[in-house]
């Protein structure tokens, strides 16, 4: 056990550049997927909160996407988009849609009806209603969704190496195929560390935004 730890540490120090470049790729894949899911999922979530039919259809679709095993999802997509970053980003954003859509929709739907009535009664146009009232009040829920989804994307991005995309999964993949346990562990640890850091940082952000006015 101690030998393994020592060997992992040796890998980090000797092959720093290799791991840093994997870390960079990992962050890139995750960030792009998170951004796509954030804006697309947010927009769909807003639409869901406005229309029950849209909600029924979108929730069915994103729930379905969420239940596909990631390996199968990657495998099927290779047939269409080939190997590489594109496939990885599509799969990662598709998974991340569910928490974003659900939380945005719930956040908006749960706004106090009195608040909505007051806003309407004072003559708020639809777009101002969205920007000034609905999105700010749904923000705590939306940020929670963003945080859950980001952690999930960073963790799942480890599998992206299996479809030829980069990222820390490359170290894991290489470790497994060459019976180099230390290499696989080194990659996994960095993914875990990255996921926890993002969870922590987004957690601080979430609090900062909402602690004063929400109970």
């Amino acid at each position: 056990m101690l030998d393994l730890a020592r060997e992992v540490w040796r890998l980090y120090t000797v092959r720093t550049d290799f791991f840093l470049s994997l870390l960079g790729q990992h962050l890139y894949l995750s960030a792009v997927s998170i951004a796509i899911a954030f804006f697309l999922g947010g927009a769909v979530g807003v639409a869901c909160a406005r229309n029950q039919a849209v909600k029924a259809v979108s929730m069915a679709v994103v729930n379905f996407l969420y239940t596909i095993p990631s390996i199968a999802f990657f495998g099927v997509l290779i047939a269409f988009t080939g190997i590489g970053d594109t496939t990885a980003i599509i799969v990662l954003s598709a998974y991340a849609l569910l928490p974003m859509v659900r939380n945005t929709c719930t956040g908006i739907s749960n706004i106090d009806p009195d608040v909505m009535e007051a806003a309407a009664g004072m003559g708020t146009p639809p777009l101002a209603l969205l920007w000034r009232i609905q999105l700010p009040l749904a923000l705590p829920m939306i940020l929670t969704g963003l945080r859950n989804m980001s952690v999930m994307v960073v963790a799942t991005a480890g599998i992206a190496a299996f479809v030829g995309a980069g990222g820390l999964g490359v170290a894991i993949w290489r470790g497994i195929t060459t019976y180099n346990l230390a290499m696989a562990v080194a990659g996994s640890l960095l993914i875990a560390f990255l996921a926890l850091s993002i969870d922590f940082l987004l957690g601080i952000w979430e609090k900062k935004f909402t602690q004063r006015w929400s109970s």
Partner: protein, 257 residues
């Protein structure tokens, strides 16, 4: 009795003509006709489901009539497009029982909400908020508080200040003081009467408390099952109830006293 006619020659700000409205299959207003006089406080009372809230929401277009017409400031509400409806609502102060203050905005930004929609300049908006706070009897320190940091009575006062921000000639109030304790309610009622004396807006005031209806109203409208049971000055309601229903209502207050 106060001067009911308001400024001479001013047309009634609100006119209901033969209005019928239903909530699902349930009729809530039945051939409802009414003229609200300029500058009066009209208190509207009746049991839950008598149509009083629906009648109020027809005035600012939050509810729609099946037939008949509602005319506000000379415009037929049902015929207005979305933009005109928004413009109309910005001319009407709106206060509800739950207040509906925006929890993510400070007292200041709540009060100047409509002004901010119209992009009023910052310092001007602050001055306006301060003077409105004074008007409703609140300390200037409250300006930067959030609604959850206020008491129930303070919230109602902020709600009132918000409704008065653009100096509306018409206030719609739906059981505004229904959820506060007795002492606070009496203070708020006195505040409202004082504001009305100074600013003379027309007020359409819904309540389920006959004592409040008689104390605040220049005229009192008793509603029952979507129809007008009786309409008249408080003294008339008290002394010459038009039906057993009205008598029952006024009897409750005599027992209380």
């Amino acid at each position: 009795m106060k001067n009911l006619a308001g400024a001479a020659g001013e047309p009634p700000p609100i006119i209901f003509r033969e209005v019928t409205a239903a909530y699902g299959a349930e009729p809530v207003l039945d051939s409802f006709s009414l003229e609200v006089l300029p500058g009066e406080i009209l208190t509207v009372i009746g049991h839950s489901g008598c149509g009083k809230t629906t009648s109020l929401k027809l005035i600012n277009g939050l509810a729609r009539a099946q037939s008949g017409s509602v005319t506000v400031f000379g415009q037929e509400v049902g015929a207005l497009g979305p933009k005109q409806l928004i413009a109309l609502r910005r001319r009407i102060g709106y206060v509800i029982q739950g207040v509906g203050l925006f929890p993510h905005l400070t007292v200041w930004k709540n009060i100047t909400y409509v002004l901010d929609l119209l992009r009023e300049e910052r310092e001007q908006s602050r001055q306006k908020a301060l003077s409105l706070l004074g008007l409703v009897g609140l300390e200037p320190e409250l300006l930067r508080r959030f609604p959850r940091e206020l008491s129930g009575g303070q919230r109602q006062r902020v709600g009132l200040a918000r409704a008065l921000a653009f100096s509306p000639r018409l206030l719609l109030m739906d059981e505004p003081f229904g959820a506060v304790d007795g002492i606070t309610r009496a203070q708020l009622q006195r505040l409202l009467l004082g504001l009305h004396r100074d600013l003379r807006p027309t007020i359409y005031f819904i309540t389920h408390d006959i004592g409040e209806a008689l104390a605040l109203g220049d005229r009192v409208l008793v509603m029952r099952r979507g129809r007008i049971e009786q309409l008249g000055p408080p003294a008339e309601i008290r002394e010459r109830p038009a039906s057993d229903y009205v008598r029952q209502l006024t009897d409750t207050i005599i027992y209380k006293k």
